[in-house]
Amino acid sequence: MPRLGDVFRKIAFWKRGENHQTVDAEALRTAFKARYHSFKLLLNANNKALEIMSEMETALRGSRPFSMSFVRASCTAVGVNVFLIVKHLNELAPEKYTTLFERFREIQDQINGVLAKRAPPRGDRLVLPFDEIDKDKADLVGSKMANVGEVRNRLKLKVPSGFVVTSAGYQRFFEANDLQNEIDRRLQASEAGELDQYYALSADIQQLIMRSRVPDDLAEEIMEAYRALERETGEEEVRVSMRSSALGEDAADTSFAGQYRSELNVSPDYLIEAYKDIVASKYSLQAVAYRRSRGIMDEDISMCVGCMVMVDAVAGGVTYSRNPLNIRDDSIIINSVWGLPKSVVDGSVAPDAFIISRREPLTVIDKDIKTKDYKFVCFPDEGVCRLDLTGEGRELPSIDDAQAVELARIALQLEDYYGTPQDIEWAIDKNGQIYILQCRPLKQTEVAEKVHGGAGRDLGREHLLLEGGDTASSGVAFGPVYVLRKNSDALQFPRGAVLVAAQALPRWAPLLSLASAVVTEQGSVAGHLANVAREFSVPAIFGVAGATAALETGDEVTVDADGLRVYRGRMEHLLVAEAPRKNLMEGSPVHEVLREVIQYIVPLYLLDPDSTEFRPRNCRTMHDITRFCHEKSVQEMFSFGKEHHFSERASKQLVCDVPMQWWFINLDDGFREDVPGKFVHLDNIVSIPVLALWEGINAVPWEGPPPVDARGFMAVLLEASANPALDPAMPSHYANRNYFMISRNFCSLSSRFGFHFSTVETLVGERANENYISFQFKGGAADYHRRLRRAQFVASLLEEYGFRVEVKEDGVFARMEGFDEEFMKTRLRMLGYLLMHTRQLDMVMANDNAYHHHRSKMMQDIDSILNPNLTSVEHAAAH
């Protein structure tokens, strides 16, 4: 705003009164508008910046999930808005605050430094055969496949042959198609989204990946590795399984259970498509929601894909080297089914369970043989199919005790090797050969007390709705039931509801960050959903027969996952033991980045604007700059009314009954139409804040000065003789006149009533976040002590009605901002009333009784102005 300075110099010149004609009203208007616009924009940016800072703080406390794109978008928005604040302050006061730009840059660079930290470079092989893989290759092949290689090459356990498309291969694929940028963009666009938006987002991104082309070099390496498998097995077109092995999924102690896709029984024709399919499953709904809820950075996850010769399994399953549900139980637990292990893993079939004591000789100490309605087998051509089991086979154990013991021995060997409990997926082929398909560390849950109907649990039997099943995740919770019958039901899943479903399907996993508890009719406590439920500490019971029929959406129930019961209503005696919900973000990489950047953004060190330390160079954070600029901008802006008294020629006197003079200057669009001559009528004024103030000014007739005790009157006389400017008889230019500078949404009122001086500056319109009122009140005729009392009196009234108030000696400075138009108007009415009725109150301020009397009288008046519908009796009652 290059020319503004000129205008202000002219105005200053004119203000000294040497020539009243040098600056016309037009120049004043232009200067005002430009300044005012800058100020408004500054306030806007100020509010926005503070809003984002507060969101960042809330996020850091971690009760709701957020992702890296939230952190990046927040930092960007803070940076942009703080820059704008500095820029607009420098427009209000040219050249006065330029050092702030440098300070801003320095802080911004620190933030950039935190955000720019990149993951370390990895190896460069696009494809690696199993023979070359061990745990040292985890950075290239993901931990799952590194384990597979380790088991095969170091432990010499039987693992099918195969190869891994590495993280370098993944990067190659993504870079060739510039996928990461596009995906980041889409993730950002959905940041604030609820679950239903994730469905579309997830589908979009997956399609994007499926449409992308695997670059030739990568495709050739994959096919080359595959042909090596054909040679090794001596089998042409040997079928393979393909599994994700995500890199980074183990970060922050998360076991990313089954959020990604696997492809079974893949033929060579489909190899490349299947590869893309699994990479795309990095963006499955479960995975996206899961990463977000656990604070895992999207770009930190590389999808490695393991390709393994397919085992056409007779039986398969999962071994836990210890009880996952009870850290004190060291039994080995095996879940097994007929056919491929798929149905144990996805929770669709209740599997046989074998419990084996780890003491030599290993023996099966308990088993639970279920009726297995179907099994998964390989199609001859490609893919797998579900076969219904009929006849007596379905009732028979899917493995015999000798196989169970052999599996247990393998589990012990793996646990011993890794030094931690293991979760092992295996398959047995038609020759009885056991193959290890994958293994990973097992997370055991601390169980408070596994009681079936123990003390306390028998209370409330009359409220019992359901009983039975298996504990999939320990705990007790209360909430309204929500029955999931079809996929689309998930979209409406309410926060805090009890998830009830027929099957424990992995696709419900994203809901576990919302659910208070889970009850299903079928499903294995070894399945993915159970894993995720434990991770999220959501109490869950699986295998409760008749749950979807007995429970109806909306029923309020208490789920006791340890007692295996569901009660109607709230069972307080069970809920008291409820464990506090984990802060899932704490310690995650995203949380860590937020914690680091926030220290350059949110803390406020510049506290006292009156201190000599309140300077640009002491700004250490974005918040400091924001605070500093806000303070200075208010000073700069509100000096407008002080610095720019206007020519009376340009102003119009209001025609009204109030026995005082009210002068108006229209800065922009405050008049309905231009008026010739010296006067303006009220109906030609369209300024929203003026009209509200005016209502307050006229609401309660002024009863004249309050009765003054003799000392009060003397105080006035003494003060007046000591300061001639206060003498109402002096022909002071501005005594007893009230000046309004207005636009449609703005007004600056300088008012001199008798001995005291007040200003109101306010902006009121439909953009609530720009609305504000500033009110200053100062002076008076009585002695200092009484003026002080009056200042406190006015301050206490203003505080009562929500203003932020500061009292400095006998001056009152009050502010209010950010409320909607209607609310701001009520407060302006109140100020209008105060302007009229605090006049000369200082004269009665010596006396406590009078103080309280006036206070309650004024409160009553104000309430009747703010709530014209209440009767006076109700007003009296309200006090």
Binding site: T76, F83, I111, A189
Partner: protein
């Protein structure tokens, strides 16, 4: 506020078309183009009050376009728009004189307010001369 002219520049055709329609409904004179090169061509032909510029586009990117617009038509206010928050690029854009920097998805009213604010600023700057 008077109707003013807005030039939207974004390579995402679907997004662009929707935005053009929605802003036109709000009584603005809106033109949409899909590249920075086209935008600069239009600015040479007819006056435009405000340009809304996507940061990341194939060909000339948003920052370069901003640089060129600010040097050839300094009176035009430019609002940057991005789907991919990048702090450094955002601050660069601000330092190059962008009026503001918005992140997708944004509220249509928020964009409208910004457009009004930008237009007002442009008008005021003219008056002050």
């Amino acid at each position: 506020m008077d109707a003013f002219s807005v030039l939207l520049v974004d390579d995402e055709v679907e997004f662009l078309e929707t935005l053009v329609k929605r802003l036109a409904k709000r009584k603005l004179q809106v033109t949409g183009v899909t590249s920075a090169e086209e935008a600069i061509g239009i600015l040479g032909e007819k006056p435009v009050d405000i340009v809304v510029l996507d940061v990341k586009m194939p060909g000339m990117d948003g920052l370069e376009a901003l640089r060129q617009i600010k040097s050839t038509s300094p009176d035009v206010e430019v609002i940057m728009l991005t789907g991919h928050a990048n702090v450094e690029a955002a601050i660069q854009g601000m330092e190059l004189g962008a009026f503001d920097y918005l992140m997708k998805p944004m509220d249509i009213d928020e964009l409208l307010y910004k457009l009004q604010d930008a237009y007002k600023k442009k008008t005021l700057r003219k008056l002050a001369r």
